[in-house]
Each structure stands twice: as C-alpha cells, then as structure tokens.
Amino acid sequence: MGIDKIDNPDIFPGPKQEKTESADIELVRKTCIEPTTDPDDWIEEDIRRNILVTTVDSLVNWSRRASLWPVTFGLACCAFEMIATASSRFDISRFGMEVFRPSPRQADLLIVSGTLTWKMAPALKRIYEQMAEPKWVIAMGSCAISGGIFHRAYGVVPGVNLMVPVDVYIPGCPPRPESLLNGIQKLYEKIQKQSISKNDKASLDKGNS
C-alpha cells in the first residue's frame, strides 16, 4: 500500500463530509452577523420576592456557583493561562472548578479562551447547545471579545458574542490568571443575583437561538 497515494476514496473525513461541513461553515458565516444580547435579566430591580423564595434562591444560587464545572475549550494562547490557573500556583480548585470536563453534557461553564475562527464556529455552537441549562459563558481574552489583533483577518470571527450569549468578558492578551479569577468572581456575583421565581425568558430564548 502506497503511503502517499490515497487509495481509499472513502477516507474519513472524505469529500462528502467535507462538503457538508463546509456548507455548515458558510451558513454560520452568513447568519451570525449581529451580536446576541448579553443576558441581563438578572439586573431587574423591581422583582418582588417573598421570604421563602429568597432563602431557596440563595441556597440554589450557592450550589450553582460553588461548583461550576468548566468544559475544556482552550483554543489558543489564552488556553495556557487557563491551564496555569488550574495548576498548583493559582489553584482554581479552591473555587471548586478544577474538574475541567471534556464532555459538554457534564459541564455548565464554557470559557472560550482564544481566537475563534469561522472554521471552528460550528463546533462552538454545537458544544454550547449540548450543554444543559443553566449554563454560562465567559469570553476570555481580547480575541474572544472582539477578534483582538486579528479582527481584520479573513477567517476570524470578530467576537464570540456573534455566536453565543456571553455573561462575563475578561480583557487581556492574554489575561493573567488573577484576571481570570476576578472574572469568575464577577460571575459568582451575577449568579447570586439570579432568582428561580421569575420566568426566565432570556434563558429560554438562549436555548432556541
């Protein structure tokens, strides 16, 4: 068998697979033009809650934020600062987050770290949709926020919020591990203010986008 010549035309991923994937990428490129709105339903001040729901709320919110499990989605340089945060010096394990789940079905936090390209975009969408509610997204690094220094490039998505709604933006190129921990603290504050009593319209919309 010649190593160089492709004898088997059904090699995976073959031409048929490539055609469907390439059609996916073009579809994503044409449809994701406007940024999705950041979820801000938690800042409504005029929700009247009764005492019973407040206690339940604080319990539920504590359990959600104290053990957020991120999914491994390191794309580029920022991934290494994320791994450094998970290492022994900065120790994300103090926050209950050292288990980076490879499977999105077992995770509830998506930290997009690094540049997102149009070729990778359908994969991001699929991973986001496979995560179960409640889920949160952190855009880490300037490439995830707006495309960074590559925003003029032909293959780069200018900001992850074109594809998924983002909860916390962490600027930096790459942000230091302390910045990432600060961003996670901000996410905790946000989760703390959520309530299970009102109809979470935004999160229902999130699942359908």
């Binding site: 010549k5 492709i6 490539e18």
Partner: protein, 147 residues
Amino acid sequence: MTKPASTKEIADSLEHKCPGAVVELSDKDIVVKTKSLLAVVAYLKNTPGLDFDYLNWMTAVDYTDHFLVTYNLTSLKNNISLVLKTRCDNRENPTVPSLVELWKGANLQEREIYDLMGIRFENHPNLKRIFLWEDFEGHPLRKDFIS
C-alpha cells in the same frame, strides 16, 4: 557555518545536464523554467558533491503579474544551502510540477500554497485546501484578494 552554494558553478553544471533550464542567475538564487523543474531538482538531489537531500521550505510570492515559487534546499552532509525559484506567468490557472515524489516533506507545504495562493501542483496525491474550508471563495494571499 551553512554556506550558500555557489550558484554560478551549479548553473554551469546544469547547462550540461539540462540545457536551457536556467532563466536567471544571481549570487543568491537561481531561477529555472517550470518545465525543467523536475529534472533540475532530481539532478541536485542525486549528484554526489551536491547531495541536496533536505527540502528546507517552499513558498510562493505574488508579484501581481506573475508568481515566483521559491524553494530552499539544504545539503546536510556538505552544509550548503541553495535558493531555487521558478516563475509562473499564467494568472488564471497557474500550474507547477509537484515535488512530492522526491521529498515527502513538500506534501503539506504544497497544499498550503494551493490553498492560499491558488497554484496547482501536478501529480500531488491529495491536493485540497488545508487551512480554509472547501467553499471558501478566492485565495487570500493573492494581492488582488478582497475579503
């Protein structure tokens, strides 16, 4: 110290072997005709004394009216290096012979040049886009590409 190979000597010996192949000659590089590229390169690889057994890199430059495909060959034994170029004037359908039979290291680099510049390589086993997806229109590294 890796010495640059003496281009004059090599061009002279090429005249005997493949007459008419060398188009331009300078201190730093040799430009050969695309038709005789395979013969020239086989001669450079197999001749004792030259032994250019290592294809260092290859790339293409777009000079608006023509393309220059540039190769850098190194001889690990004799510690000399040579820059070889070939000119491609056809803008709509540029074609250059592929060097994959001689050096397997040319495989991915030729796919990259095809993807980003649009130059086709004859007899390449798997010539398809490598960095961009199949339906992408255009070849980005060309000077007339508008994104």
